[in-house]
Subunit: 262 residues, 2 copies
């Protein structure tokens, strides 16, 4: 697989800086978060990315359907994903609704929100990539917790939906191999990073590939065998530790681990 660099990995950089780094390190893919995209200006960024010849493996992120104003925000996200030619809009569920303990209710809000925005996504040619998040984020980030649950939603919603598979979020799942095979070509994005032991924060303590205990090559092989033909492994590392490190050296370390740890 080829590498794609998710902009959150080098959080201190602007989007133009990430684009330049991709050229400098020979990385052919990029996946921006919306804040850096908006800061750079969507049209200008789209032009720069095109001129650099980068594949946009995804736009992070839409969804968060349990939060206020989610639908309007997702409409903007779909337009942005279309503008930069992203292969998909990565969609998170959102956590429990504010002040609520109603988990089934929150999950229904995710399904209803997806159904609401799907016609616009289809019209824009933007695939909604449902990304299950690790269960430790269920309360505050995503009630969409397993690949099986995401695929049930894809089954229900149909054309224009797929899944974003991040090894960090799913590696522990006893049902993973079966669900990857079930997913098949609906896997539209493949994200990599690593699970450190110990993990000291539920969100911002990821490792770069090879730094933790996830057997990433084994999952990559299953994903390819299932029919993922995207050809990219997107490196998305949320880490206060790495964010304090020199970003150019970080990117170099990631490219070095490309052959051995992914």
């Amino acid at each position: 697989m080829q590498l794609s660099l998710n902009t959150i990995t080098t959080k201190s950089w602007t989007l133009p800086q990430v684009i330049e780094a991709c050229a400098r390190h020979g990385i052919p893919g990029i996946s921006p978060w919306r804040d850096v995209l908006q800061a750079a200006g969507v049209e200008a960024a789209a032009r720069q990315i095109r001129d650099a010849g980068l594949t946009v493996t995804g736009l992070c992120r839409g969804g968060m359907f349990t939060q206020p104003n989610a639908i309007e925000d997702n409409r903007r996200a779909i337009a942005e994903a279309h503008a930069i030619g992203a292969r998909c809009l990565v969609v998170l569920g959102g956590g429990l609704a504010p002040g609520s303990k109603d988990l089934p209710g929150a999950r229904a809000m995710v399904r209803d929100g997806l159904a609401t925005i799907l016609p616009e996504a289809r019209a824009a040619g933007v695939t909604l990539a449902l990304e299950p998040l690790h269960p430790m984020t269920c309360a505050d980030r995503s009630v969409l917790s397993t690949l099986g649950q995401a695929l049930d939603l894809c089954d229900e919603l149909g054309e224009g939906t797929g899944v974003a598979l991040d090894v960090y979020h799913v590696w522990w799942d006893p049902d993973l191999a079966r669900q990857i095979a079930r997913a098949g070509q609906r896997i539209v994005a493949f994200h990599v990073c690593d699970w450190k032991v110990p993990t000291t924060d539920t969100v911002f303590d990821r490792g770069i590939p090879g730094e933790g205990v996830i057997d990433i090559p084994a999952i990559r092989r299953q994903v390819v065998a299932a029919g993922y033909s995207g050809g990219f492994a997107e490196v998305e590392v949320l880490s206060t530790r790495w964010w304090a490190h020199d970003p150019d050296d970080l990117v170099q370390q990631i490219t070095k681990r490309h052959a051995t740890a992914i």
Copy 2:
């Protein structure tokens, strides 16, 4: 349901102190960890618990089959559970084997370890209660991650096995209601505490019932409807924050929340 007090909740107390507190606060059940049981002397503790008229809802803990000397340690745990008349020995999987990324291999070690100790458990009349732990503990504490996975093991191993259901570990599971119904009377222990937002530690930041976002009464109703007839909710709170609090006041707060939050 009646309350049972797991000794880890009041970590600074000896087992005799916990037994006295149960009498003082009108709590009819107890569940010791093995370290406090051994410190008190198993035979002396068994006598004190019997004299106090307490139901022993479980002994924590056996398992950890991916660690060295697990089988010998589980044999001692079975003998201890028998000696104190525990309804079950709570069994954890154990994390990945030291230095290994082989998750399927670790899970096979759990199955094989259970099969090895099961004849002794049956002979001693000690039910092995497989407790799935939250997926965030998969690497270092338990590769047994979901209720469905635990029930698959029960199906395979048969008589003498059951499950310990802790709301903290399973509340996020999209498949929970279905798996609780499937479990039926194989639920031999029901543990309660709460998921705080934010959660600042993957092991030691639990809340007491009502302090977090888990809809504990909804899960309790499902557990009872499935056939759990144990009649006890065991309060097991691992929390550096609560461990720094006056234990007697903590127990009082728990008894107050009994009617409203469990």
